[in-house]
Subunit: 335 residues, 2 copies
C-alpha cells in the first residue's frame, strides 16, 4: 500500500515509526505492507516511489530540518505532492484549523478526486464539511476514515458505530478535550485558574492557538464528528452551541465539590448539540481527571456505557491510523 | 432465521420481547427476521415451525407455568427439542453451572452437531471447554457466539477483539461481577460484611448458589472467556487462581480507603490469570461502584483503555444476543 503523508509532526513521525517497528506483524496479521512514497511538511516535500525510510525522515525532523532534506524539494507543498503522486492512500495529519481547514481541506478533496483513499487525523475538514466530504468520498468510490480525530488511540468512534451495532444510541456526553480536563482537575485540586493554565502550558498540553482548547473549539469539532458518524446527523462546527472554560472560577469548582460534583467541559448530544462547563457527579464513571478523555453512550437496551482513555498522543493517534489502514486494506482486497 | 431457545428466564424472555418490539427495525436495518420455532424451560418445551408468539410465552411464565403451556409438552427437555428441531440457531440461556455445565453443554454440542449456529449467554460450557467448543464449531462449519457472557449488554469482548483490531493487548484487569462489587461498595460505605451481603440479597443481586458470586467463580468464568477470546490463550476455569470476597473484612476496606484506594474483586490477565480482592486507587477509572462492571485493557500503542457498563440484566444481555444474531445473519448471507 503506497501512502503519502501530509504533515509530519508527532502523529506523522509516530506513524512512520510504527510502520517500521510493526512491519512484520502488520504484514503477517493483516496483509498490510505500507510504503511511504511521499511526505510533505511545512518546509517542503520528498517522494520516492520505492519508499522513503522512516529513520531518515525522523532524523531530518530531529535535526530541525524539513523532510525535503531526504532527497526532496524545499518549498514543495502537500498539494503539489498529491498532484504528482500515485499513492493509494493519503494520510492527512496537518494541524486542525477551523477557519477554512486549509491546507488539510484541499489535501483531502484533491486526493479523493485523484482516487486516493483518505485517512484524516486532522479534525478541521471533517468539522467544517463532514456531510459533503462523505458524499465526495462516495462519489469518487474511495474510503474516508478518521478514527484518530476523536479519542486519539481510544477507538470511541468504532465502539459506538461497530461494537454497539444493533443498538440505538439515544444520547451521549463526553469529556473530549484533555487539556481543559487537566486544567479543571488542577482547579479541583486547589489551583487558581491561572496556575492551572500555566501548569498545563508548562507541560506542553495547550495548543499554540489556546482558543482551540480554552474556548471549547476542539471539543466541539469532535462533537461534530461524533454527531455525524454515530448519530447520522448532518451538522457542521458552526452549528454547535459552545462555551469554553474561561468563565469557570475557583468558586464554581468549590461549590461543585461541596455538592459531590466536579466541573467538566462536557460535549453533549441530547437532541441538542452543545459544549460547555457542566457539573458531573464524582461517582459518575465519566468523571475522569487529568488529561483523560471519556464518553458515556446512553443506549436504548444496554444501559449507559462509558469508554475512557488517553485522548491524544502521537503514537496513540498513529495507532488509530494504522487501524484505518488495515480496514482500507481489507476493503481494497475485497473489491 | 429460525431460532430455538433453551432456557426462558429473564434473558430469554427479554429476547422474545426484543424480537417483537424491534421486529421492523431488525428487518429494515439488518435483514434479520427471527422466528422462535422452539422454546424449552425446566418444565417442558413448545415448538411451532411457523413461530411461537412472545406474548404467549411470556404470559405463561408470568402465570408461573412452563412454556409447555403454549401448545407444547410438559417434561420435554431442551435436548429433545434440539433433536427434533431444524432451527438455524440455538440460543442457550440456561443457568451457568461449573461442575459439568449441564444441560447447557449438551445443548450447545448437540446443536452444533446438527449444523446449528449457537449463541450462548450461558458461561458454563465456555468456561469449562472454550478451546474444544471452538474447534467443534469450526469442524461443523457453524458459528459459536457468546457476547452476552461477559459484560451483559456492554460489548467488552467486541471492544477488545474488534475495536482494538490492529493493536496488541498486553494485559487487562476488570471488575466482572456486579454482585460482589455491590457488596464491597456497601462495605466501603460503612456497612459490615453481613449487612452488605444481606442488602445485596434483598435486592435479588445474589445468585441462588451464592458461591458463584462470593467465591469469585462467576468472575473467573468470565476471565476464562476473555483470556481465550481476547488473548488467544487456551485455558479452562480450573486453571484460574481464584479467591473470593469472603475473607475481606471491614478493616481491609477501611485501610484501603485511608490509602486512597478501594478493595475490589479483580479478574486479571497479566501473564498469570487470577481472581481476587485487590486494592484499586479511587482515582483509577476502573474503580467503579455499585453493580457496575468495568475492564481496563493495557494496549501496546494506545495506552490503557477502560470500558464501564452494567454487567447484567435481562434486556441488556438479550440485546447482546441480538448483536450476535445480526452477525450470524451477515455470515449466513455472505455464504
Amino acid at each position: 500500500m503506497r501512502v503519502v503523508l501530509c504533515g509530519f509532526g508527532a502523529v506523522g513521525q509516530g506513524l512512520a515509526r510504527l510502520f517500521e517497528s510493526r512491519a512484520d506483524d502488520l504484514y503477517a496479521r493483516f496483509g498490510l505492507k505500507p510504503r511511504i512514497v511521499g511526505v510533505a511538511d511545512s518546509g517542503g516535500a520528498a517522494s520516492d516511489p520505492s519508499g522513503l525510510r522512516a529513520a531518515d525522515l525522523v532524523a531530518a525532523k530531529a535535526g530541525g530540518r524539513s523532510v525535503a532534506a531526504c532527497g526532496g524539494r524545499a518549498g514543495m507543498t502537500g498539494a503539489e505532492l498529491i498532484a504528482e503522486s500515485d499513492a493509494d492512500v493519503l494520510v492527512e495529519t496537518t494541524a486542525s484549523g477551523y477557519e477554512d481547514a486549509e491546507p488539510g481541506m484541499s489535501h483531502v478533496t484533491s486526493a479523493m478526486a485523484r482516487g486516493m483513499h483518505v485517512v484524516s487525523a486532522n479534525k478541521g475538514p471533517l468539522a467544517l464539511a463532514f456531510p459533503s466530504l462523505m458524499e465526495l468520498a462516495a462519489h469518487n468510490c474511495v474510503s474516508l476514515k478518521f478514527s484518530g480525530t476523536v479519542g486519539g488511540g481510544t477507538p470511541i468512534l468504532d465502539y459506538a458505530k461497530n461494537s454497539l451495532r444493533g443498538e440505538r444510541i439515544v444520547s451521549f456526553r463526553g469529556i473530549l478535550n484533555g487539556t481543559t480536563n487537566y486544567i479543571l482537575s488542577g482547579m479541583a485540586g486547589g489551583m487558581s485558574p491561572g496556575e492551572a493554565l500555566e501548569d498545563a502550558r508548562s507541560r506542553g498540553y495547550v495548543e499554540a492557538d489556546e482558543s482551540l482548547d480554552l474556548d471549547g473549539i476542539d471539543a466541539a469539532a469532535k462533537l461534530t464528528i461524533l454527531a455525524n458518524w454515530v448519530m447520522g446527523m448532518k451538522v457542521t462546527l458552526p452549528e454547535i452551541r459552545r462555551e469554553g472554560i474561561r468563565g469557570v472560577g475557583a468558586g464554581d469548582v468549590r461549590r461543585a465539590a461541596e455538592g459531590g460534583s466536579a466541573v467538566k467541559l462536557i460535549a453533549e448530544c441530547d437532541g441538542d448539540l452543545s459544549v460547555g462547563p457542566r457539573e458531573v457527579r464524582t461517582d459518575d464513571p465519566l468523571c475522569v481527571n487529568g488529561t483523560l478523555n471519556g464518553i458515556s453512550f446512553v443506549s436504548e437496551h444496554s444501559g449507559t456505557q462509558t469508554v475512557i482513555g488517553r485522548g491524544a498522543g502521537g503514537t496513540e493517534t498513529a495507532s488509530s491510523i494504522v487501524r484505518d489502514l488495515i480496514d482500507i486494506r481489507g476493503e481494497m482486497a475485497s473489491r
